[in-house]
């Protein structure tokens, strides 16, 4: 086989490619996940903006946080005392 012919055979061989049939779906699954992740912070951001704009809402969030923390402490103490 002549060199040029061998070179062209190699090139034709390298031009072949086999891509899995499920490849586009695999990519799209990740795209959907990223889309969902991008949309979720948008909801949180708008909610956060609304809370920040209202002093009573900010106070309510702090009180709720403190209450949740207290409830958790009580539950943990209850668990320890019962053990």
């Amino acid at each position: 086989m002549k060199h040029e012919e061998m070179f062209n055979t190699w090139k034709r061989h390298k031009e072949r490619i086999a891509v899995s049939i499920g490849f586009p779906e695999r990519v799209m699954t990740h795209v959907r996940e990223r889309q969902a992740a991008q949309q979720a912070p948008a909801v949180s951001a708008s909610l956060l903006r609304r809370v920040v704009a209202r002093p009573w809402a900010k106070a309510a969030v702090v009180v709720l946080g403190v209450l949740a923390g207290l409830v958790r402490i009580v539950m943990t103490l209850d668990l320890i005392l019962r053990a």
Binding site: M1, H3, M6, F7, T9, W10, K11, H13, K14, E15, R16, I17, A18, V19, S20, I21, G22, F23, P24, R26, V27, M28, H30, V31, R32, R34, Q35
Partner: protein, 205 residues
């Protein structure tokens, strides 16, 4: 199960490797698809994935020399493209140029990280071929693969884009971020080196 993608890539192509009769129509369709994706229709991105899956995967395999991980890298390329699609400027480049630039950078990083794994399988035997011919052909394919993997990365990427993807030199220069003359010289040097390897292989056999 796999699609067999054979043939060449000149601009937009699809996963089956068949060119649409109207390439200009496809380009218009492509900008429509990009606009739809940017407007929030993520599902339209599938059209771009299906069109470029073959060429992008092949380019990554041929540059990185990794037959096993090339689909994973191609997936990373498409996800990066999806995330950065808003930065794509159709006035500066074609979508294929932009996408190949991402693929080029990913495959160069992969090639730097690991040793080449891809070794060409021997071509299918024809009726006239003797077993000795088949062995000889497999050997020269392997020899050329090794030589390709040994090329400096800048030469390798330019050569792969020119010879296997059949992209015009101007487009390669854009992808490589190099001057046209530099790209031509890199491709020529890569070709000379591969031909020299082939001659050495022929003389030794």
């Amino acid at each position: 199960m796999t699609h067999r993608f054979s043939g060449t890539f000149r601009g937009p192509a699809c996963i089956t490797g068949q060119m649409h009769p109207c390439a200009v129509g496809k380009m218009t369709e492509e900008s429509d698809v990009i606009r739809r994706v940017l407007e929030g229709d993520g599902e339209s991105f599938r059209l771009l994935v299906e069109r470029y899956a073959g060429p992008v995967t092949r380019m990554i395999r041929n540059v990185s020399g990794d037959d096993q991980a090339c689909e994973d890298l191609a997936q990373e390329v498409f996800l990066a493209a999806y995330e950065k699609l808003g930065t794509f400027d159709p006035r500066r480049s074609r979508f294929s140029t932009w996408l190949f630039t991402i693929a080029r950078n990913k495959s160069v990083n992969a090639a730097r990280k690991k040793k080449p794994l891809y070794v060409a399988n021997p071509p299918e035997r024809t009726g006239r071929e003797t077993p000795e011919d088949t062995v000889a052909r497999a050997e020269f394919l392997t020899a050329l693969d090794r030589e390709l993997s040994a090329l400096p990365l800048a030469q390798r990427t330019a050569f792969v884009l020119a010879e296997f993807e059949h992209l015009p030199y101007e487009q390669i220069a854009q992808i490589e971020g190099a001057r046209l003359g530099t790209v031509k010289s890199r491709i020529s040097r890569a070709r000379d080196r591969l031909m020299a390897a082939l001659r050495r292989f022929g003389d030794a056999g």
